[in-house]
Amino acid sequence: MFFLQWWIAIWLSQRGILERSAHIAISGSSALLPVIKEELPRWEARHPEVRVSVTGGGSWAGLAAVSQGRADIGMSDIVPPEAMSRGMLGYPLGRLPVLFIGNRHIGVNQVSQPQLEQLLAGDIGNWRQVGGANAPVVVVSRPLSSGARFMTERRILKGRSVSPRAIIQLSNGALYKTVISTPGALGYVEWRPDLKGVVVMAVGSSRFDLRRGDRWPYYTEPTLYVRKSAPAIVKQLAADLSRSPAKAQFGLYPAQP
């Protein structure tokens, strides 16, 4: 019985390949998976001749896969280095806010940008030093491959690295959970619909407002990259995905003109 199902599955997928001639592979940042997966079925319905597969793996992996020809579209919220981007076209999706969040008991809800820099770099070790509670600062960060970390180190830390003593969490969700439950925690998350249980820090004079998210100055710019030499249908798909009306529900705000 098991073998029968197995063969039927193989047979069906073979038929699928034969009928649909084109196959497009998308790979890269998992932050973009939800919006892509939301839009893709509609697009596939309009293009029954094309089969699209989507995998995560991170921004760097996506960029490398596209530049090496292992994928057709790379999802990345990291700006690719010059050497890589030369042969590629980018289709930006907009701005994805990155928010700085603290544990509820730190006693601070606003810091200046230099303070934030010193906090994240590990120079300030206690919340007291920025007018908060007497609690050690515990920096929570994403790994080096994260687009949010890339942006934070460039914009807030001016090229320095996040404190080497930071707790590393792989996913946005795990980082959020860690900040909620760890006393003195400070971290950064990409936009998410739910920010209960943490302090969303105002930085300088900027305060995040969900309705005016496009005003928030710290964001990544998730972009779909394709090779310049790619077939028209691939560029078509990237362009269509980047204009998806579903973007708003995933926190992707339009770029300011």
Binding site: A61, A64, L144, I168, Q169, A174
Partner: protein
């Protein structure tokens, strides 16, 4: 065609299928070793032997590939997990097979078996919610630590270990237990001197399987260990294991990136450790009960 001929043909086909499956498995195995070995070789050709396996500093972007912190992390997390889980699993097995009525045994085995099938990310979330705060209370600091990872892993491997220990304990014949009791041994003495004594080999085997499981676990460990690349100087310090660091860096070091092959080196180290364990299992497994 006679039934006999038909049977013969079916047998030939089956034989061919099994052979093909075995060949595929061997090929995949060789491909694995080959890929990792080749990657490791290229890593050493590119970066030399300095500042690599025995180094203490790890920063792949800056060309520092010290793996000692992760080796220490893997070893200590595994040690903590097995030391915590083993006595617990042993008591589960003894309770299930010797203390509780025998008709409960199938239900216990099913329950324990289903626990063994829980995906590790669930244990990771559980560790984040329960174990990290507990360790924070016990040892201070953030709670994200080698100890937290060890505890989460211990809970993870208890079901597997219990199941193996239950199987081992079920192999002890009733007549040895009766023989011991009839000589005036108390139930405790019988347990220690006959039951556990006679299944030392399968219990050691179970332990090695547990070590393998702990050594290879990735997701649950990553979520509670803290992910720092420094050498963990005590169990309440954050750290990383070979597996959790591979997970952290696999996005940063895609194939073709500078330093990508350090992942091959880490994976090869794990594979070698596992291979050593398998050899150990075989040596112990050779000694049978009886």
């Amino acid at each position: 065609m006679t039934v006999h001929q038909k049977n013969l043909r079916t047998e030939r086909v089956q034989h061919g299928l099994f052979l093909a499956a075995a060949a595929l498995l061997i090929a995949v195995g060789f491909a694995f070793w080959g890929t990792l070995g080749w990657g490791t070789l290229r890593f050493f050709l590119q970066h030399g032997l300095n500042r690599t396996i025995l180094g203490l500093r790890y920063h792949p972007i800056q060309g520092e590939f010290g793996l000692l912190p992760f080796i220490a992390g893997s070893l200590s997390v595994t040690l903590i997990a097995v030391v915590l889980a083993y006595p617990l699993a042993l008591s589960v097995a003894v309770t299930a097979t010797m203390v509780l009525p025998h008709r409960w045994l199938p239900a216990i085995r099913q329950t324990v078996g289903s626990l063994a099938a829980i995906p590790s990310v669930i244990f990771g979330w559980w560790g984040l919610a329960m174990v990290v705060p507990l360790v924070r209370k016990l040892g201070g600091g953030t709670g994200f630590s080698v100890a937290a990872a060890g505890i989460v892993l211990a809970v993870m491997i208890v079901p597997t270990l219990s199941l193996l220990a239950i199987h081992a304990a079920m192999r002890v014949p009733e007549r040895w237990v009766e023989g011991s009791l009839a000589l005036g041994a108390t139930p405790d003495q019988t347990l220690g001197r006959v039951v556990l004594q006679s299944i030392r080999a399968p219990l050691a085997e179970a332990g090695i399987v547990a070590v393998g499981r702990a050594l290879g676990e990735t997701m649950a460990v990553q979520m509670v260990i803290g992910g720092q690349t420094f050498f963990p100087h005590n169990v309440f310090a954050p750290g990383a294991t070979l597996t959790s660091e591979i997970l952290n860096d696999i996005g940063l070091l895609p194939p073709g990136a500078f330093g990508h092959h350090v992942l091959d080196v880490m994976a090869l180290l794990l594979l070698l450790a596992m291979y050593g364990l398998v050899l150990l299992v075989e040596r112990i497994g050779g000694r049978e009960i009886g």
